[in-house]
């Protein structure tokens, strides 16, 4: 595991280790980029998870103070808990239910599709579905999403069966157990779902994808990633040039530390990311970092949500098994005939008894409430999740009075439902009730929204700097070495759950940040012929740099388009130019290390390739590392070998191979030509020609030695 110096300014610092931050961290580490992840929460591992809702909540959830306002019901029911998200390594991917869906094509073009909607700040994304498709594919493969990559769907539990039967009776067509980032069969060194039923409390079997035990350990194994838990980022600092230089954070003891950085990526979830940018205001950026558009913190989205629970005459036991493996997608389309824009999904959901009491009808009491509670074992439940309208006035600001224990103003969340959200929710309540009534529900409970689990949009993506905070790569328009890597980039929210898109964007962003990719990008651009590379040597033109240059040419500083007229435009413009020069220096520096990195990548690739091709019998387990029973040990070894191969096939990680060979094999035992696949480094090493190869005499090995 890497450990980087506080003064090492060659690292990329990522704030937050959840879906966005954890993925970006691993992707960069795999490419040889040095990364420090600062995570506010502790590191809680699988063995520590608790199958108890409130205990688990206390263990994992973000319970630090937040404040609320607006007409949404959450502000009334949970005034200091606007969001139900995680503060621990892995972020909300520890809590999440793993529904992993792609946006529809029109959901990237909402302004064009929905038109001008009063009160809504609609904007098209600067990317299209076609552009995202390859990144979605990578994300699905990484996360092992069912119904993609030939992975079978999960088996339906009781709750799903009720939903399915009712939905079919209502004529719905697209009904299945979902596209879930939960193993329906063993994959990626993780077992399959045991139907434990506490998906929200951290999956004790590791069947569901979470950055906590996938991305992060993989990244750490490369030696390029350091995760610092209990490290709360307080402020991002910048040089007079405007370029960010590092992050000030409070460590486990509450002491202030300063980690230098060449790039900072913010991924603290959509409430904390804008809070951090706003709290980093300086003389030069008085409204907070990357906020020349005034859009930081604005357009907060949390999805149109609600639940429908229904009671039946006989038992359902909805709490048994996977929490969210069930979906009806027919209403997710955009069909203005329903008198609202956008669509919504209906997904199975169950809560345990303690959470049911807290969330069924917050504030409710008396016989109506308790008779519903007594129906618990006979209940089925679904969650409604649909596109909510981005509104400029729905926003995260710094609370003017309340500060956290580090003295940082807490996030204040304002949200009003848009009339479109309300119309959609009412439609969804009606359809949800119809589904359950079709199979004999005796009572239906339209349950109000829980604290937000899907938080989006507070640093939105935009083609034009005046409309948003980041460009299509999550790079801030204002500061070239400052990135946003979480759901706050979303320009609009779509009907579906957000995390697959967050992960796809993070993989894509890693490709942008990583210097090793510059050459490929350059050739892409050259093919399109759209741009002329500016600097003298086109081979040395990384994409970032070119964008700096382009933007500079196309958009001279315009006075007057900024919403904030108090900003000293000239000074910022000058700073911007200085920033770009500094950035150029950084890019050149990256280039110097690039060749070395490419070498390393090639090495790892070669090793991975060998692992794929050499017949199993040539791999020899290290008996000393095995149990007394040679047959079982052999089987275990073969299983481990197949797993590592499978992983290697999905993206070569030298650390993975290294760990495998270290754990299971003796050094330099089997040789193929001059190469030993068991070099301790995990990559092929040259060994002397006459090394004793006892393993080849082993009977499993016989007849295979010359196979390669």
């Amino acid at each position: 595991m890497a450990k980087f110096d506080l003064n090492d300014d060659s690292v990329v610092v990522i704030v937050g280790s959840g879906a966005g931050g954890g993925t970006l961290g691993n992707e960069l580490a795999q490419k040889g980029v040095k990364v420090v992840i600062l995570e506010a929460g502790p590191r809680v591992e699988i063995k520590d998870f608790i199958n108890n809702e409130w205990e688990s909540f206390a263990q994992l959830a973000w319970t630090d103070m937040r404040t609320t306002s607006g007409d949404w019901r959450v502000a009334k029911d949970f005034p200091n808990l606007p969001a139900w998200i995680v503060k621990s390594v892995g972020g909300s991917t520890v809590h999440w239910a793993d529904a992993s869906l792609r946006f529809d094509e029109h959901e990237f073009r909402v302004r064009t599709t929905y038109g001008e909607l009063p009160g809504a700040n609609l904007l098209d994304w600067p990317i299209t579905l076609a552009e995202m498709a390859p990144w979605y594919a990578k994300a699905e493969d990484k996360m092992g999403v069912t119904r993609t990559n030939n992975i079978p769907g999960l088996p339906g539990n009781n709750n799903f069966k009720v939903l399915e039967a009712g939905a079919r009776k209502c004529g719905y067509k697209e009904v299945h157990t979902g596209r879930m980032a939960i193993n329906s069969e063993p994959r990626d060194n993780r077992g399959s779902c045991q139907q434990i039923g506490f998906c929200f409390q951290g999956c004790k079997s590791g069947a569901k994808w979470s950055t906590l035990y996938t991305e992060i350990p993989k990244g750490e194994a490369t030696g390029n990633l350091e995760v610092r838990p209990n490290s709360m980022a307080l402020k991002i600092e910048h040089a007079p040039s405007g370029k960010v230089t590092g992050v000030v954070y409070a460590d486990a003891d509450g002491k202030t530390q300063r980690q230098k950085a060449r790039i900072v990526a913010v991924a603290g979830n959509s409430l904390e990311s804008p809070r951090l940018l706003l709290n980093s205001a300086s003389n030069m950026f008085p409204d907070g970092l990357a906020n020349s558009s005034g859009q930081v913190g604005r357009n907060y989205m949390r999805h149109m949500t609600g639940s429908v629970y229904a009671a039946f005459e006989k038992s359902v036991h909805m709490d048994r098994g996977t929490t969210m493996a069930g979906i009806v997608r027919d209403e997710a389309v955009h069909d203005p005939k329903r008198s609202f824009m956008g669509g919504y999904e209906m997904e199975t959901l169950s809560l345990g008894l303690p959470f049911m009491a807290a969330f069924l009808n917050p504030g409710g009491w008396g016989r109506t409430f308790t008779s519903a509670m007594e129906n618990y074992p006979r209940m089925a439940g679904m969650w409604l999740v649909g596109e909510d309208m981005p509104q400029e006035t729905n926003r995260v600001t710094l609370d003017s009075t309340i500060k956290d224990k580090h003295g940082m103003p807490v996030a204040s969340v304002h949200y009003d439902d848009h009339p479109n959200d309300i119309a959609m929710r009412n439609h969804a309540y009606k359809q949800g009730a119809a589904i359950y009534e079709a199979v004999g529900a005796t009572a239906v409970y339209p349950t109000p929204p829980y604290p937000s689990t899907h938080n989006m949009g507070t640093n939105r993506m935009s083609a034009k700097p005046r409309d948003g905070v980041v460009n299509k790569f999550g790079q801030t328009h204002d500061i070239k070495n400052l990135f946003v890597s979480d759901g706050s980039q979303f320009t609009s929210g779509a009907a579906c759950n957000p995390t697959l898109t967050i992960v796809a964007l993070a993989i894509r962003q890693a490709d942008t940040i990583s210097p090793a990719r510059c050459r490929r990008r350059k050739s892409e651009v050259r093919q399109s012929g759209a741009r002329t590379p500016a600097p003298a040597n086109p081979r040395m033109t990384p994409r970032l740099l070119r964008r700096v240059h382009d933007r500079h040419r196309r958009r001279p500083v315009e006075v007057g388009h900024h919403r904030d007229f108090t900003r000293p435009v000239d000074q910022a413009g000058a700073a911007q130019q200085r920033g770009e020069i500094f950035h150029l220096a950084v890019v050149i520096e990256n280039f110097v290390v690039k060749l070395g990195e490419e070498f390393r990548e090639a090495d790892a690739f070669l090793a991975g390739d060998l692992f794929q091709r050499i017949p199993e019998c040539n791999f020899q387990p290290d008996r000393r590392a095995m149990t007394a029973d040679p047959k079982r040990a052999g089987l275990r070894f073969v299983a481990a070998l197949r797993l590592v191969r499978e992983q290697a096939a999905h993206g070569v990680s030298s650390g993975l191979l290294y760990n495998f060979s270290k754990r299971y094999t003796r050094p330099s035992e089997a040789t193929i030509g001059h190469w030993s696949v068991f070099g301790r480094s995990g990559i092929p090493v040259r060994v002397k020609k006459h090394v004793k190869t006892k393993s080849l005499e082993h009977d499993r090995a016989r007849g295979c030695a010359s196979a390669v």
Binding site: F49, I50, N51, N52, W54, P155, G156, N157, N158, K161, V162, E164, A165, R168, K169, C193, Q194, Q195, I196, G197, F198, K204, S205, K314, S315, V316, H317, D319, R320, G321, T322, G352, L353, P354, M356, A357, A358, G363, W365, G366, R367, F369, T370, M373, E374, Y376, P377, R378, V439
Partner: protein
């Protein structure tokens, strides 16, 4: 379908354990379900025994479950005594809140709150104070302190922690048998 045994084997033991914290040993030894009249309330250190008894009655009226004996409500209310001991403001809120309830009951029914005969009459009295800090604090605490008691989960058909039993994969996650064929 596999159903949950509501008289779960643990219930007696956990019942005793749960009640032990709140009730004197003598009351348990006789194994008579505890009632508001029992001596446990005398144990309160900060609050008046009568206040504790009324609070338990209020708790039942807020979340009435006729299959739950008083011990569950006592367990849920008992921590307020400790909170009152630590914080005079809490103590005042509770004592004053109960006093007001009793006063309202006197005015309407000529008896204390706990002695009002019908639940619906007591609920009417609670509705009058629904917006007070006293009621809000009591209710929002109760929704956790009552329903989070493991001992009462089987009575609601909820089985709690499942990882240590290997999940539900072999314990009926998909054993529903009454749905119409689709």
């Amino acid at each position: 379908m596999r159903e949950v045994d509501r008289r779960s084997k643990h219930s007696r033991r956990t019942f005793l354990k749960g009640a032990a914290a709140a009730a004197p040993v003598a009351a348990i030894a006789t194994n008579i379900p505890l009632s508001v009249e029992d001596a446990w309330a005398e144990d309160a250190t900060a609050l008046q025994p009568a206040t504790m008894k009324t609070l338990v009655k209020v708790a039942r009226d807020i979340y009435p479950h006729d299959f739950l004996v008083d011990s569950y409500y006592i367990t849920a209310i008992k921590p307020w005594d400790d909170k009152a001991a630590k914080d005079p403001a809490v103590k005042a809120m509770l004592e004053d809140g109960v006093k007001r309830l009793d006063q309202n009951a006197q005015d309407k029914h000529k008896c204390s709150y706990a002695d009002v005969g019908w639940e619906s009459d007591r609920v009417a009295l609670l509705l009058d104070i629904e917006q007070t800090a006293f009621f809000k604090a009591l209710r929002s605490d109760l929704v956790v302190s009552l329903y989070n008691q493991q001992a009462l989960w089987p009575k609601f058909g909820y089985e709690g922690s499942s990882a240590e039993h290997g999940g539900y994969i072999h314990r009926g996650f998909n054993d529903i048998d009454w749905l119409p064929k689709t």
